[in-house]
C-alpha cells in the first residue's frame, strides 16, 4: 500500500489543486479573470488519485475538472494560469480558452475539446498505438456523467472492449450536467453498470477518497498494461460550485451541498493524515505555505506575461513539414 511519503505527496497535489482553484475563483470574482472558467472544488481526489496511478510514459487525457492531473503530470501552475488569462506563455499561447486545449505531448497529455466524449475516442487511439508498437503503456482519460449520454461515449466503450485496449476511463459522476440532475439523464442507478453491456470491467468508487481512487485506478491500469483490457471507473462526487464561474447553481439544493461539504476530499484527507499519525500540524502547515507561495508566484508570472501578438493569429493552424 501507500507509504506515508506517498500519502503526503497525494495531499500536496490535492492542496495545490485546491489552492489554485480558490485563487482562480477569487481572481475571477475580482474581475482579474478572462472569459469563463471551471472550478475544481470537490473533484481533487479524482484527478489526483487517478493520475498518481500512472507511469511517466502513460498517456492522460484530462478534462476541465482535472486540474490536479495536469499539475501532477508536470504542467506548471504558471502555464495553466497563463492559459486561463490568454497569455502567450500559456499552454495554448492564447489559442484556447480556460482549461481547454491544454495538451502537451512532451508530458503525454492530450488536450480536450468542449465536446467531452472525444477525449475517450482519441485516448483509445493512443492506447491502440501502444498495442500497435507492442509498448507496455496505458492511456487514461476522464469524462463526466453528462458526456455519458452521448453516442460517442458508447461507441468508444464498445471499441475499447472489442479491441481489448490498454485503456481506462474515469467517469466523474458529480450528479449534475450543468443544471440537469442525474435522474433526468439516465435510468440506470450507476454509470459503472453500463460497462457490462460492452463486455468490459466496470467499477464504482467514492470519488472523495483519494486513496480509494488511486487503488481502483492502479488496479485497472496494471490490468490494462498486462493485456487484461479496458475498465470504466465511475467516481462519484459532487460539483461544489456551478458548472462554470458565472453559474450560481441555484438549482442545486443547499442541503445537498451541505452534506457533501462534510465529505470535502481535501479536508477529510488532512484530518485522516493527522489521525493516523502520518503527519502533524507543523508538516501540513509547511505544505500549505509552500502551496500558497507556488500559486502566488504562478499568478504573478502569468499576469506579467505578454498577451499574444495579433500578427501571429494565423500561425500554427497547420503542422509544417
Amino acid at each position: 500500500m501507500l507509504t506515508n511519503e506517498q500519502r503526503l505527496t497525494l495531499y500536496y497535489w490535492m492542496l495545490l489543486t485546491r489552492s489554485f482553484d480558490e485563487t482562480m475563483v477569487a481572481m475571477w470574482k475580482q474581475g482579474r479573470g478572462l472569459g469563463g472558467t471551471f472550478s475544481q472544488r470537490g473533484h481533487e481526489a479524482i484527478s489526483v488519485g487517478a493520475a498518481y496511478a500512472l507511469e511517466p510514459g502513460d498517456v492522460i487525457a484530462p478534462m476541465h475538472r482535472d486540474l490536479g492531473a495536469y499539475l501532477l503530470r508536470g504542467m506548471t501552475a504558471e502555464r495553466i494560469f497563463g492559459n486561463l488569462l490568454g497569455r502567450s506563455g500559456g499552454v495554448s499561447a492564447g489559442r484556447d480558452a480556460n482549461l481547454h486545449g491544454m495538451g502537451d505531448l512532451g508530458l503525454q497529455i492530450i488536450g480536450f475539446i468542449s465536446h467531452l466524449p472525444h477525449s475517450m475516442a482519441v485516448s483509445l487511439g493512443a492506447a491502440m498505438s501502444f498495442v500497435y508498437r507492442s509498448e507496455a503503456r496505458v492511456a487514461l482519460t476522464f469524462t463526466g456523467d453528462g458526456a455519458s449520454s452521448a453516442g460517442l461515449f458508447h461507441e468508444t466503450l464498445n471499441m475499447a472492449a472489442v479491441w481489448n485496449a490498454p485503456w481506462v476511463v474515469i467517469v466523474e459522476n458529480n450528479l449534475y450536467a450543468y443544471s440537469t440532475p442525474l435522474e433526468q439523464q439516465m435510468k440506470v442507478p450507476a454509470i459503472a453498470e453500463r460497462a457490462a453491456s460492452y463486455g468490459m470491467a466496470g467499477v464504482s468508487v467514492d470519488g472523495n477518497e483519494v486513496e480509494a481512487v488511486y487503488a481502483v485506478t492502479s488496479a485497472a491500469v496494471e490490468r490494462a498494461r498486462c493485456g487484461g483490457g479496458p475498465t470504466l471507473i465511475e467516481a462519484r462526487t459532487m460539483r461544489m460550485l456551478g458548472h462554470a464561474i458565472h453559474d450560481g447553481a441555484e438549482y442545486v439544493p443547499r442541503s445537498l451541498l451541505e452534506s457533501w461539504e462534510k465529505r470535502d476530499p481535501v479536508m477529510t484527507y488532512r484530518a485522516r493524515l493527522l489521525e493516523a499519525g502520518v503527519s502533524d500540524e507543523a508538516v501540513l502547515s509547511e505544505i500549505a505555505e509552500r502551496v500558497a507561495a507556488e500559486v502566488a508566484e504562478a499568478v504573478a508570472r502569468a499576469e506579467a506575461d505578454l498577451l499574444p501578438d495579433p500578427a501571429t493569429v494565423e500561425a500554427g493552424v497547420y503542422a509544417e513539414g
Binding site: 488536450g111 482519441v122 483509445l124 500554427g316
Partner: protein
C-alpha cells in the same frame, strides 16, 4: 488489359518503362500498398476493409494477408468513434489511413474531424497526420446516401487539407502526399472513375505536391476550372467546342484546400472568361470561392461574368432522369461554355 471486373487489381499493363496503365482504383491501392511497405507507421482502418473481403470497393483486398491484422483494422460501424481513435493514433506518431465506406457517411464523423482533429495543432501543437479516404460522387444511380460530394464542409474548416484527384496518376501521387503530410487530409476519391478510367501511373513512390492545380488542356478563349470526375466531362465538352473553333483551357484544381490561387488567377487573366464546374451542390460550393477569388483579384481581366455549373440544391436523386437533371455533364458544360465564349 484489365477487364474492370476484378475490382482494379492486376489492372495494370506494362509499357516497358516505369509507367504503366492503371485504373484509377488500382492506383489508389498501389499507393496504399507501396506506402505501407515503405513506412511501418502507416496503417489502415475502416469498415469491412480486412480479410479477403478487402472493403466495399476492394481497394484493400489482399492487404491483411500482406501486412497483417495489426495494420489492417476492421472497425465497428462507428465513424465518430473510429475517426477519433485514428486521431489518437496520429497524435502518437502513427499515420492511419481511414476508409470511409462512402463519403456520404463522413457526416457521422463530423465532430471528430472538424472539432478535434482540425483544431488540435492550432490549439496545442498536436499534429494529426491521418488521411480519410472518402469514396464520393454519383452519376451511377446510387441514391441520396451513396452519391454525395461533401467537400465544401471541409474546405470551410480551418486545419484540414482537402484533395480530389481526377486521374490515376494524381490518385496515386496525391494519396502518397496526403499520407506523408503531417496534417489531417480528406481525400475524396471519385467512385465513377474507379474502373471506368485508366491512365499512365509511375511505378515509383513519388508524391505530388498538395495545393498545386494542373492545366490539363491549354486554351485561349475561356477557362474551365474543375476537379474530380467533372474534369473528364469538361475535357469532352472542350473537344466538342474545339470542333467549332472555340479553344478552352481546362484547369484541374486537384487540391481544394489549400486552393491554388495563383493557378486560378493565371487562367482567368489569360482567357478572361471563367466557368467553374463541380458535381457538388453549386450553392456555397467550392466554385463559389473560385468565382469570388476571380471577381476580387482578376476583375479587370474579365470579359464576361464568372459562370458556375454544379449540382442542384436538392438531395442527390436516384432515378436516372432525376439524377441527370441534378448533375452537370459534358452536354451541360458544352452549352454553358459556348454561351460564355460567345458572350
Amino acid at each position: 488489359m484489365g477487364t474492370g471486373s476484378n475490382f482494379g487489381f492486376a489492372d495494370g499493363e506494362q509499357t516497358g518503362d516505369s509507367t504503366r496503365e492503371l485504373t484509377y482504383i488500382a492506383a489508389i491501392s498501389e499507393a496504399l500498398r507501396e506506402e505501407m511497405r515503405r513506412d511501418p507507421n502507416v496503417l489502415l482502418m475502416g469498415e469491412d476493409i480486412a480479410g479477403d473481403f478487402g472493403g466495399a470497393f476492394k481497394v484493400t483486398k489482399g492487404f491483411e494477408a500482406e501486412f497483417g491484422a495489426r495494420r489492417v483494422i476492421n472497425t465497428p460501424l462507428a465513424e465518430l468513434g473510429f475517426v477519433g481513435a485514428a486521431t489518437g493514433m496520429a497524435l502518437m506518431g502513427l499515420r492511419p489511413v481511414v476508409e470511409m465506406q462512402f463519403a456520404d457517411f463522413i457526416s457521422s464523423a463530423f465532430d471528430s474531424i472538424v472539432q478535434f482533429a482540425a483544431t488540435a495543432h492550432y490549439r496545442w501543437k498536436g499534429a494529426v497526420p491521418w488521411v480519410i479516404r472518402a469514396p464520393s460522387d454519383g452519376g451511377i444511380r446510387s441514391g441520396p446516401f451513396h452519391s454525395q460530394n461533401p467537400e465544401a464542409w471541409f474546405v470551410h474548416t480551418p486545419g484540414l487539407k482537402v484533395v480530389a484527384p481526377a486521374t490515376p496518376a494524381d490518385a496515386k501521387g496525391l494519396l502518397l502526399a496526403a499520407i506523408r503530410d503531417d496534417n489531417p487530409v480528406i481525400y475524396f476519391e471519385s467512385k465513377p472513375l474507379y474502373r471506368s478510367l485508366k491512365g499512365p501511373v509511375p511505378s515509383g513512390a513519388e508524391a505530388l505536391p498538395l495545393g498545386e492545380a494542373a492545366v490539363v488542356r491549354p486554351g485561349r478563349d475561356l477557362s474551365m476550372v474543375t476537379y474530380g470526375a467533372m474534369l473528364h466531362q469538361a475535357l469532352a465538352a472542350a473537344r466538342r467546342l474545339a470542333d467549332e473553333g472555340i479553344d478552352s483551357e481546362v484547369l484541374d484544381l486537384r487540391t481544394l484546400k489549400p486552393l491554388d490561387r495563383p493557378a486560378i488567377l493565371a487562367t482567368a487573366r489569360k482567357t478572361g472568361k471563367v466557368l467553374v464546374v463541380h458535381a457538388a451542390n453549386r450553392l456555397a460550393g467550392v466554385g463559389a470561392e473560385v468565382a469570388a477569388l476571380v471577381a476580387e483579384e482578376a476583375f479587370e481581366w474579365l470579359d464576361a461574368p464568372v459562370q458556375r455549373l454544379g449540382g442542384l440544391d436538392v438531395p442527390v436523386p436516384f432515378s436516372p432522369p432525376l439524377e441527370d437533371a441534378y448533375r452537370p455533364n459534358a452536354e451541360k458544360i458544352y452549352g454553358a461554355a459556348r454561351r460564355l465564349a460567345l458572350y
